[in-house]
Amino acid sequence: MKPYKIKNIAGHLATIFLANPLTPILAFAIILLGYVSLEMMPREEDPQIQVSGGSVMVSIPGATPKEIENVIIKPLERRIREIKGVQHVYGTAMNNAGILNIQYYIGEDRESSNLKLYDKVMQHLDKLPKGTLPPLVKPFDIDIDIPILTVAFYKNSEKKLDNVKLYKTIREIQQDINALDNVSKTTLKGVKKPQFNVFIDLQKLSAYHISLGEVAKAIRSISSNAPEIDTTSATGQLTVFGIKNAIEDIDDLKNLIVAQYLGSPIYLKSLANIEYSYDVQNFQSVLLTYQKKDTQSTKVKFVEAGDQITLTVSKLKGTNAVDIAQSALDELAKNAAVFKEQGVGYIITRNYGDRANEAVNELVHHLVITIFIIAAILIPFLGWRESLVVTIAVPMILALTLFIAYQTGQTINRITLFAFLLSLGLIVDDAIIVIENIHRRMHLPESQGLSFSEIIVQATDEIGPSTNVATIAIMLTMIPMAFVGGMMGQFMTPIPLNVPVALAVSLFVAYVFAPYLAKKLIKFDEPSTEKKDSEHKKGSA
């Protein structure tokens, strides 16, 4: 019989790795890298969508919508249109103010988009009409703007706690949480800020013959702050003195003399009701209602907790939502004693970290189940040893793909894992085809007299060309998907990024490890002494 000549890269790869002692070490390394990547990669629920845009707000007090439209919106939107990459400009002309919302095409670079917008507005600052307040340019930032964690703090009914005290406590917690690693922005919603409220009685005002303007002037005149003054004494020593703020507490305000009426002073307290409370002019508030867990009765019982403060926590781009949410929750748990003492209760109203973790774990679970189902179904067709080869090959392919994804800065999210699930059906094919061909060749009469290694190499080599072309064909069908535009395109990006990689890796694994595993795992009755050798090694593999 003439010696077999290897024609394809498949055969060459199989030959190199079939007898190489480093092959199992490489296999272990790959699995290990994959596992480390799975643990290390930042987890998110949904992939990041690059949304760029922003809003410009210009206000002219007292202007009607029609005026705003003509003097603000129209000239400004023409300017904005000059920016490349702007998809839509939405203008709203309201009473007193005009707002432009600018939406860039999905996928436009955010930093440069923000810069271009700011630049354009600033360039035309001089063209704005008189009486205009400085324009506000606010870019929106999906990573920073969408909080991953929201916590509702409410007042527990047992302790007397007012809105201002609640705010003071939460403000401190906010500072601590903001100091945690990778936390980008924290905000408080529904806060009631402390404030001295002076409610003037209109009747008394007229009775004392005082105007509102006078009261305002009187308060303003005593509430100024001055910096400390330092001077040197005759002996050259430094003397520092400062003027104390005239309003230290509520009594200072109450006893403020507003005017003289018939020779006697009129105090602010006799004109007005003065209190140290929260900002009453702020109509925004957040309320909380929660279900009270009651193990005894099945009746649904809700507690209306009234005003709450919602703390929102956002993360930096590309960081692990799971870790950040957890560390924030740990920080809250540390303060449990403080909360209890002050009568503050809290409820986690959103935890994307948890959801990301759950989604990722569920999908990893699905992946594992699917691998086992496929392995089980292969047993009656190929035999359990052959099926075992495929079962070992699949995690290796996934591990290597995951490692590549990690190295290219991707995050692990639902879509990445769906890309894996999708590729699962495709990547087993290469290994199945190789193993099936080895299996078939073993029983062919032509293989008589050949060693098992020779059969393996020949079988791998035989299906090499068509498998290569077929796999490249599948990779080619996936690649155009990367060019799908819009939100949907961005959302789906992990598929065209990862599936072709997984396929390329699956070819490599099918040619390198599948033959090796076949040699170690599959029983082959041949007259040579190699068999005992392979039987011996099987335990370790």
Binding site: Y90, L426, D429
Partner: protein, 601 residues
């Protein structure tokens, strides 16, 4: 298996039967889409642990009125035992999420706006999916709480399963005449309200209401020794209030403002009317340069006027918009229905013409006022537009994939005919994709009582199927070619190759089917899973029974030095038992065949 395939390709009649079956299933499958047996949608709903209720009351509503509505909704929701907690955001948007990002949640800062975030128990322990719950409570809440304050709109926003859009259906009306826009959009909104399947119809514009203008009498102001500026400031200070000074603190992160305003008892008007306002202003006095107190009502007059609503513009043109959501149905069919009604109903005032040309704005209508000749453009936007864009892009990706694959195979085989065979084989998997969706839809209707839609992910599934079925065809062609090169007769070689390759082809198909089973249960990627499962079934059948016919009919299979043979058909004439039966019977036979082989070994 071998004899079966041989039997098909050796008789012209059998070839025709198989070809006709393929053509008919292809036509039948494609016809399922226009005949609405299979419904198309971009992304289906998914069960989530949270949803948000957006509430907008009349533009001039007070925060107290808005609170009445939120309290009503809150009281309703307190009967739901699956609700864990509710965060009621008054006068502002809830903490931003993906949906809120595009729905303008961050810009809400008016007294008539509120958002309620409802957190539900974990979806794994809850029987009712969130979208069914929304479906159930929506009409009840809207009926109960929608009438408390006039012009209230209560909308339900679920977590989008994919990228978010402003609304499922957005109709933008562009035109120059504000009044005409306002009247027409109301009519459009009415049509949407009447369309079955559409809910949460909301016109994005301010309501008209009466407001009051204080007109300063310049002459009187000057003669009284006052200034207009003083009048403005004092009026603002009295009724709205302002922080006149601040106090720094040592132990807090904010300065403490000193806020000045009239007390509530003396500030509030008896009712909202010109007289009440004038009466209040008469007791507010200003001090002039001489130190005399002058009642405000002396120097100003009060008049009631219509409010000036905000003007909305998009891309440099004035427009108004109306949004609507679809209640558990695909947006395509209500959209087409509403569009037909609009063409019909708006014809009394306008000349309605359809926009010509094929693009993703293909549903747009041009409206020309019959009396004034004013032009308007009625544009369909929202999820439909995004879907069309996505389908267009995916279609482009699909064609690109076809071309790339074709070229690759041409390079590999150096034959256009063989490339064509592979492509045809790949393309035919669409039969399975569409029929699979139809079957799944029927199953899901029975089990979950919801429709299963043909989505963008189904299309992705189809694209990846192209490659998968190409692989089967390639393996077949390759093997046949090598058998022919070894000297086997063509038909026999085809039959032998098909029989030998049947096992790995079916194994890989089984792997894909099983691998996609769990995918098929996912709300977003269900379409992909179903496409892969049924598509690879179809692809397997096509490559095992139809590709051999195509291979037999081309000469490109033969080696280049091949001369046309004396055609001989050997007498393997077993009655073709599967020819008239349905496909799945054939599949069963195949499986039996492969098991029989195993036993023989």
């Amino acid at each position: 298996m071998e004899s079966f395939v041989y039997n098909i390709i050796s008789k012209a009649r059998n070839k025709w039967i198989v070809t006709l079956i393929v053509i008919f299933s292809m036509l039948g499958a494609i016809l399922m889409i226009p005949s609405k047996l299979v419904l198309a949608k971009m992304l289906p709903g998914k069960s989530a642990n949270t949803f948000t209720i957006y509430i907008d009351t009349a533009t001039n509503a007070s925060i107290q009125e808005t609170k009445k509505v939120t309290t009503c909704v809150q009281n309703y929701m307190m009967h739901e035992k699956e609700v864990l907690n509710m965060g009621i955001n008054l006068g502002q948007g809830a903490p931003l999420d993906y949906a809120g990002l595009v729905k303008g949640s961050a810009f809400k800062n008016m007294k008539n706006q509120a958002e309620i975030v409802i957190n539900l128990t974990d979806k794994h322990e809850r029987e009712e999916p969130s979208y069914l719950m929304v479906h159930r409570i929506r009409p009840e809440i809207q009926a109960e709480c929608g009438e408390i304050v006039p012009h209230t709109s209560i909308r339900f926003t679920e977590m989008p399963s994919g990228p978010p859009t402003l609304a499922t259906i957005v109709i933008e009306l562009f035109g120059k005449d504000d009044r005409l826009l306002r009247n027409t959009i109301t009519r459009v909104a009415d049509i949407l309200n009447e369309t079955e399947g559409l809910v949460d119809v909301d016109i994005m514009q301010d309501d008209l209401y009466t407001k009051y203008n204080l007109v300063p009498d310049k002459e009187k102001i000057i003669r009284a020794g006052l200034s207009v500026d003083q009048v403005n400031q004092i009026t603002y200070l009295a009724f709205k209030g302002t922080a006149v000074a601040v106090k720094n603190t040592r132990d807090q992160q904010d300065q403490i403002p000193i806020f000045l305003r009239l007390s509530d008892e003396t500030r509030m008007l008896a009712r909202s009317s010109t007289d009440a306002l004038r009466a209040k202003l008469s007791s507010l006095r200003l001090i002039n340069r001489e130190g005399l107190m002058i009642p405000l009502s002396e120097v100003i007059s009060v008049e009631g006027i219509r409010s000036s609503p905000s003007i909305f513009r998009k891309n440099l043109k004035n427009y108004v918009a109306v949004t609507a959501e679809c209640d558990m149905v695909s947006q395509v069919y209500p959209l087409l229905e509403a569009r037909e009604t609009m063409i019909e109903k708006l014809a009394d005032e306008f000349n309605v013409t359809k926009v010509t040309g094929i693009n993703t704005y293909m549903f747009d209508l041009n409206l020309v006022d019959k009396q004034t000749g004013a032009q308007m453009l009625l544009r369909w936007d929202g999820e439909m537009k995004v879907s069309l864009d996505t389908f267009r892009d995916l279609g482009g990706a699909f064609i690109a994939a076809l071309v790339l694959m074709f070229l690759l195979i041409v390079v590999y085989y150096k034959s256009f005919a063989l490339s064509g065979i592979v492509l045809i084989g790949s393309f035919l998997s669409i039969i399975g994709v569409i029929i699979g969706h139809w079957i799944t839809d029927k199953i899901q209707l029975i089990v979950l009582e919801t429709n299963f839609f043909l989505t963008a992910t189904s299309l992705i599934g189809f694209i990846s199927l192209m490659g998968i079925s190409a692989r089967s065809s390639l393996l077949l062609i390759d093997f046949t070619k090598s058998l022919i090169e070894e000297g086997m007769e063509k038909k026999r070689a085809i039959a032998v190759a098909t029989a030998t390759r049947a096992k790995p082809i079916m194994l890989t198909a089984v792997a894909i089917i099983l691998g996609s089973l769990l995918l098929a249960t996912d709300p977003i990627f269900g379409g992909l899973g179903v496409a892969l499962i049924f598509g690879s079934m179809a692809a397997t059948l096509v490559s095992l029974f139809f590709i051999p016919i195509l291979m037999d009919n081309t000469n490109a299979m033969m080696p280049s030095d091949y001369k046309h043979p004396l055609s001989e058909s050997k007498g393997y004439v077993i009655k073709a038992k599967g020819k008239g039966r349905k496909h799945w019977c054939v599949l069963v036979d195949n499986v039996k065949d492969s098991f029989r082989n195993k036993e023989e070994k």
